[in-house]
Every structure is written in C-alpha cells, then in structure tokens.
Amino acid sequence: MKKLLLIVPLLLLAGCSSSQTWGWYVIDPTTASGWVNVKFLISGMGATIQISLIAAAMSIVIGLLVALPGLSEKRGWRLVNRVYVEFIRAIPLLPMLFWVFYGLPIVFKSMGMNVPIDPFWGAIITLAISDSAFTAEIYRAGIQSIARGQSEAAQTIGLNYVQTMRYVILPQAIRRILPPLANQFIYIVKMSAFASVIGMQELTRRANELVVTEYRPLEIYTLLVFEYLILVLIISAGVRWLERRMGADERG
C-alpha cells in the first residue's frame, strides 16, 4: 500500500521536471493557479460523499423491505421479491439515470403532479434503487444463513415476526451481511460518477470541466482517480473497524 502511494509524488516529479507531455503545473498546489484548480476539483468531494451516503442509506432500507417478502412462505410475496430484483438488476445504471432524470418528471406530470427532479436527487434515486436489488439479495442470503431453529425458538417464547427479526435474526445476520454491504457502498461511491452526465457538480464533473478549460486530461484524471481511491480506502478502514468490533462481540 505504501509503495502504491509513492507513485503519486513520483509521477509528479517526473512530470514537473522533464518533458513537454507532462503538465502537472495545472494541479500544482504550490502555485496560485494550480491551487485554485485543486480546490475546484476537491470541492466536488462533498457532493460525491452526500450522494453516496444518502443513496446507500436508502438502499439499505429499500433492500430490507424487498428482501423480507422474498423470505415469506407465501408464493405471491416471493414473486414480488423476484420480479423487483430481476427487473431492477437488469437495468444498466446509465439508462436508468436518464430514465429517472428525464423521464420520471414526465410521468409525474402526466399524473398531474409537478415534481421536478434535480441532478442531486436524480442521482440519489437512481443509485438507491439500482443498488437496492443487490442489497436485497445480500439480506436474503444473510437472513437465510441463520438457522431456522433461531426463529422457531423466538416464536416459542412469544415473539412476533417483527420482534423475531429485530432482536434475534437481524443482529446475527448483520455480521454476515456487513462485508458484502460494504462492497456495495464502495460500488455506489464509484457509480456516483455517472451523476456527472446529468450535470451534478461532483468529483468527476469537476474534473471534466477543468479538462475542457485546461486541456490536461492525464494530470487531472489522475488526480480524480486518487480522489476516489482515498474515499474507498477510508470506507474500507471503517468497515474493518466495525467488523473487528462485532467479531469481538460475537466471541464474547
């Protein structure tokens, strides 16, 4: 990991010192214009983080609501789950983003409602719904991995369905669900870059705009890649910390 991080200063050095093809000066924070550019690029971070967090939170809730009917004994409920998962999972993110951003307001209008969808919420809704199909499958697998005897025992001491889920099944399942859920969160952070195409001022959009004015795609996109890398590494560290805490708890 340390070696990997060394690549940044190495590239910077190589670029600043020698040839014509490098132009690290555009993002050189020691110069006034470079610092303005860097600030401009990094200022997209807030939007990327907000979009990702809200979308992930929504996906976690929607995913659970979609997963639970999939565990029902009743066939109709399971079908609801299957249809949602198969349908949503099959739609590529970019077309879904276009549909939500350009199409959904028309649907609302046809129903006599005026619901404007801005790039911010358009991106969040798309990411949340698209991701919820995967989250739902993660929940289902996690809950099914808890032995049936657990819910039977909960029922025999008088707990109802919601109490059984809340106090017995989910606390055990969450330990198994957490690692794949973290994967999905990382996926959301990366996919939030698509929001740039509907005009959301997040990391990728900022980079695109700067490239257009500075004509330095290599340098600017390199910085962009590392911005995502840093975000993802922070998430990974956070998840590992959580897992350690829960693991210790389980061992008692």
Binding site: A147, G149, Q150, E152, A153, A154, Q155, T156, I157, G158, L159, N160, Q163, Y167, V168, P171, Q172, D249, E250, G252
Partner: protein
C-alpha cells in the same frame, strides 16, 4: 373433556404427498407427563411441533385448554406463550448473554420490566442449577448447561405445558443426566409435559403415559408398567428390544 390440557382428534398432516401423521388421537391431562418414542421418521417430533404450531396440520383438531388451534394469528400467539418448547439443538440466541436469552420473551412478549424479568430469570437459572452463568454467552457453556438454559428460557414464560423434542439427543453422554435431573424435578413439581425421547430410564421414572409411534401412527399407548413389560404390538416390542439392549 374437562382437565384436558392438550387434545388431538384425528390429526393428519402431509408433506406434499408424504403422509407424516395419520389420524393421531391423543389427550394430555393437566399435570400429566407423556413420553413419545419411536424410530426416527415416525412423526413423533412432528406431533410435538404441531402442538405449538411450528408446523400446521391439515386435518383434524388440536385443542389447547379447550381452544382450537386455527390459522388465526391471535390464537397462535396465545398458544405459543402458553406452551414452552425445548429443542434438540437448544436454539439459544448466540449473540445474547444467558440472562438476555431468558429475559427477551418476558420483556418483549409479556411486557415485564427489565428488573422483574431479570429477577425471574435468576430464579429459574437457580432452579436449573446454573445460577452463576448469567452473564456468559451460550457458546461458553457446555452442552448440558446450554440445554438447561434453554429449559429455563421456556420456564421464564410461565408456560402451562412444556414440550421437549429429543432434549438429550445432541448431548454428550456425561451431560445427559444433568438435563434429565432437571426434567425429573419439573415433572415432580406437577408441570404438564410432552417429551419425545429415547431415554427410557427417564420415561419409567416420570411418565404417566407412554406413546409408541411408527410410520406416522400411534401404534401403542399405555401406562409405563405395561408398556415396558408387556408391549402388545410386534413393532413396539422390536423397537424396545433394540433400544433397551444398550
């Protein structure tokens, strides 16, 4: 019938086309101890699981204290909190401490305060002879201790009937007696019990009635003194000779 805690009349159950229970008739009076035995796959666990509605029967009537078991959610809830169940695999909640395992039902389903529930939990832990393990996680206990915690967890709900589904079958031999001892004490205190087990020593000691099941039917039913010494059917005689050999 007055005094009947549990009454099964013509109960039938199928798994798809497989006929697991065939015309089961069984009456358990209040305070009575019934032991059900039989070869594996005979349907004995299924009978017990139908009584507290973990499985549904398709035909016939099951009554608890005169109340029919139906699909009605409310009747199911009533039944479940009135009927305790002890499982072969204990089914303790591994993420909770022993004390939390015992207080969960009383607090969430019965609405007791934490203090009252803990008091009750400690009382029953004492009764199953493990007063000192309250703050441990189930996995830190031996199998015998875990099963006794499971019995205490059922008792915390103050059930009118306790069902046991092969409570000692998953235990190492040296731990069986500590669990049976607790069960004998419960029996002596007048608890109504339906026990699926192969522990014939226990059955002789506490059973008021023996049931032998095979292939989904009750083949033989009787007082233990007759049941063990003079079984009527060939199937029962053969079964008893096999398990009593050891």
């Amino acid at each position: 019938m007055p005094g009947a805690a549990i009454e099964l009349v013509g109960v039938n159950k199928w798994y798809d086309t497989f006929h697991v229970l065939k015309d089961i008739n069984l009456t358990v009076s209040s305070g009575e101890k019934v032991v059900i035995c039989g070869p594996s796959g005979s349907g004995k666990s299924t009978v017990v699981r139908c009584i507290n509605r973990l499985e549904k029967h398709q035909k016939g009537i099951i009554r608890l204290d005169g109340v029919d078991l139906t699909d009605d959610a409310e009747s199911t809830a009533t039944i479940r909190s009135d009927v305790g169940m002890v499982f072969q695999q204990f089914n303790l909640f591994p993420h909770l401490t022993v004390l939390e395992n015992l207080t969960l039902g009383p607090i969430k389903a019965r609405g007791l305060s934490r203090k009252d529930a803990e008091e009750k939990a400690r009382h029953y832990l004492d009764r199953v002879h493990i007063p000192d393990q309250a703050d441990k996680k189930p996995m830190q206990l031996s199998g015998g201790q875990q099963q006794r915690v499971a019995i205490a967890r059922s008792l915390c709900m103050e059930p009118r009937v306790l069902l046991f589904d092969e409570p000692t079958s998953a235990l190492d031999p040296e731990m069986i007696s500590e669990v049976l001892e607790v069960m004998v004490e419960l029996a002596n205190e007048g608890m109504t019990m339906v026990v699926v087990t192969h522990e014939m020593g226990f059955a002789r000691k506490v059973a008021d009635k023996m049931i032998f099941m095979d292939a989904g039917e009750i083949v033989e039913e009787g007082k233990p003194e007759h049941f063990f010494t003079n079984p009527q059917s060939d199937r029962c005689r053969k079964f008893l000779s096999q398990i009593l050999q050891h």
